[in-house]
Subunit: 381 residues, 3 copies
Amino acid sequence: MTMELDLVPAGLGHALEELPLVDHHVHGVSSHDLSRMAFEELITESDRPVPDWMTQFDSQLGFAILRHCAPVLGLEPFCTPEEYLARRARLGAGEVNRLLLGASGIGHFLVETGYRGEELLGPSGMAEAGGVPADEVVRLESVAEQVAASGCSAASFAERFGEALWERTRTARGLKTIAAYRCGLDFDPAPPSAEEVVAAAGRWLEGGGGRLTDPVLVRHLIWAGLERGLPLQFHIGLGDPEVDLRRASPLLLRGLIELAEPTGVPLLLLHCYPYQREAGFLAQAYPHVFFDVGLGVSYTGARSAAVVAESLEVAPFAKILFSSDAFGAAELHHLGALLWRRAMARVLGGFVAEEEWSLTQAVRVATMVGVENARRVYGLG
Amino acid sequence: MTMELDLVPAGLGHALEELPLVDHHVHGVSSHDLSRMAFEELITESDRPVPDWMTQFDSQLGFAILRHCAPVLGLEPFCTPEEYLARRARLGAGEVNRLLLGASGIGHFLVETGYRGEELLGPSGMAEAGGVPADEVVRLESVAEQVAASGCSAASFAERFGEALWERTRTARGLKTIAAYRCGLDFDPAPPSAEEVVAAAGRWLEGGGGRLTDPVLVRHLIWAGLERGLPLQFHIGLGDPEVDLRRASPLLLRGLIELAEPTGVPLLLLHCYPYQREAGFLAQAYPHVFFDVGLGVSYTGARSAAVVAESLEVAPFAKILFSSDAFGAAELHHLGALLWRRAMARVLGGFVAEEEWSLTQAVRVATMVGVENARRVYGLG
Amino acid sequence: MTMELDLVPAGLGHALEELPLVDHHVHGVSSHDLSRMAFEELITESDRPVPDWMTQFDSQLGFAILRHCAPVLGLEPFCTPEEYLARRARLGAGEVNRLLLGASGIGHFLVETGYRGEELLGPSGMAEAGGVPADEVVRLESVAEQVAASGCSAASFAERFGEALWERTRTARGLKTIAAYRCGLDFDPAPPSAEEVVAAAGRWLEGGGGRLTDPVLVRHLIWAGLERGLPLQFHIGLGDPEVDLRRASPLLLRGLIELAEPTGVPLLLLHCYPYQREAGFLAQAYPHVFFDVGLGVSYTGARSAAVVAESLEVAPFAKILFSSDAFGAAELHHLGALLWRRAMARVLGGFVAEEEWSLTQAVRVATMVGVENARRVYGLG
């Protein structure tokens, strides 16, 4: 299901290159210069030290950096990691960010600020570095942890969280939950009672607050988020070792999806790898379910067309979005967009070459997935 | 694993076009003219209203209709949905059915009559509309629900069901269970005791009968079906939102497969998407297990070659069948056959082009999967 | 993601053909002549008699034998099974083994001796038949069953097993567990207490020993193996019907992987089909996790490039190995190597043709996966 880009119909390739993508789930770039170790830690989901007998450059993502980011920094494709990092250091983080974000052609960032946000550019920094609009997506668990850190009783937690959520999301475009990391997606989907929330908050706060993992509280956050009414993103599938991938299947959300249906809140399943087909099924079955293959594109590099192709099976095309989930290194922002454009060109171009789709249909679907669906779901300009 | 059809060896393409497919699991077509809303509801597995910001024509299945069914109705490929529906309305349901069923080249229909059968053509109507033989596959749950509706005590349910099953299947070729919808496939595989059946029937009938979901009764139906001795079809995987896809994996049937092995009854796993590889494993492991990728072909359209290819991995070729699972709209009957032929041409043609298979082998496997395996399993002429 | 081999860059095809593969998980060949029935039983994972209405030659593996092994025995490709078996019988097992092992180009065998080892060539026999070095991988469950068979009390089992393990592995390169077959991978990952082991050994030995399935004992074996310190192989995924594929997902090992991490012992996930993407995730997340797609290559034949491609997605390239898992019939040894070389040529050649990878990168990754990673993990010359 792949083809050489030379063979992609010119109109489709051009249309894809020009799309002002809405990256509906992305993190900021780091404004610091990065050591080799720091850089390698940003190009893997592993949180373990890189063993001395290997380098993270020997991966699909690493090869994609040397292939596609090197030229943006003025190097030949397929340079060595050493050459790449030396050029990166010489240019400095600010210039590297400007070059790579600019080359990405992303037209709008929805920046999730809840993870190590203090180290990274926020929405306004991203807007400045990228020269395009940027809005915020607020992580529910971070708001709750800030409420706990600011001092809060068990009895007042729910109310304080509600206030804080409202306050933090005045201008936000969406919410995000990392329940998949914190307690797995096999939680009881029903909203917990007020008493259960007080009891769970008591246990959590007595332990000093901190990392929120209690499934009762996670459920409360999700239901408070649904009440807030902004589109709600779920981390699904592939992630760092904290995630138990078995408990990160989108199919586990079925109960919640059905209970949440009357709220009308769009639910957005992020990444989904390797569960993109399962996500597609949910997106066909439920009108308020959407998904992307975000992180599954950049991490699979030369194989990303296969992942994108699997996302284009049973879901209606109005239910599929683009995101990069890039974090820290601007290479990830650039590659998230570039690999997606190339994958879509190959996959949709293949459909056209095989005379299954018309060129017009291919261009329209690329535009829906890359731009229009996100604009509609998030109410962007 | 796809290729342009121009590149498929001519002998293979021709052989596939000519195959008088046995569609071993299909529903009837509707003899009524269909409104746009009714038509769109037939081209999705979702049972929710189509939101006003989308159309089901924007999907792989929708695009396949505009590409492949439009010419059968005398339109250009890639016409608009409006043009398509207007032409469909002008021709009328009878003519549309005749054209599309005729174009499908299906040689024998095994019609499952248990779902909304009153709205659709039955086996004799399908035989007439398609001009080919049609036999019946009887849905176990429907027979049980009819027994309940006709008035029946808990104590007599098992006997009454047994009589009704025998009566309803005098000329039937197979049985079908939708346990995956009704209680999930993670049920206790052993046959329930007579006492358990009476107790469960009592609970069900006290509640007025109706939709049968009790796993004890579902198990009883399955074991009664095994005793009846006709090939037994299982809905697996993809379906409408009633299915919990997590509980519709064929791997959950392992216990039942092993317990049923001594009966010698062929077990046929239908659709299986996205579990086609798991189904292939079961078909290799157990002599009495067979499978198809039915619904997974029409719903994936331009991607159906990928799904068919995954079905041709570890299962012996004598264990794979063709079905369309088409329902209501004759477009689904036509596309089930057409997309399968094209997918097989591309996949098997690819094996030949890569010099992994001979042309003779490819034609023989296509004939086994499309015609011969079903004839053997169901004892067709 | 496949291509005709004619289109693979010559340098890559040549490099792959010349690689002296380390087959890090393989069984011996049979030195006996094989009847048709015996041969067909070796080319399926099913342990059931082959039904009279089919032949195991009608499968991807069967077709691959007729395509690729026939020429090694001096026949035309795509001969009939009868011609193939007649030639095989005429040549005799010794010559067939010599020809096929020689043609495989495997440079080093790590022979797992724990399954029907008495019928097959051991490491020294394989070294002689193949003309290359061969070392042993010891199956934990077999050692324990031998301890029980030799007479052993419950109280002394743990000590006797520890001694036997040390004795049996003096020159071994690795250990293997078939927990997936014996109790499923959803066992409690913690080491059992000494008391639990005594109690479980008591139950087992009272029953006469024999096939070890008690999860407490399986856990004890695994933890004793981790203490022994040799690389530890796990059967994962596809296998004979004894395996419950649902309980053979590598994701179930997460708890054990995390508990075992401080030991520094490499954990090697074998085969993994259809869970190769899940295995890749674990190999990215955890530095001590490695995997291969062994059995998933030979059994998928013309589709093996698809399986290999999926293994090259999210895992760093230093974490992927080659194995054939061949057993009994030397055809499986030859095909394990040949199909892997062809699959890598097509997949990596495709990356090069699409200008995503350089030729140098492709050759380097092929060498890492085929040879170098295993040499490093097992400390081979």
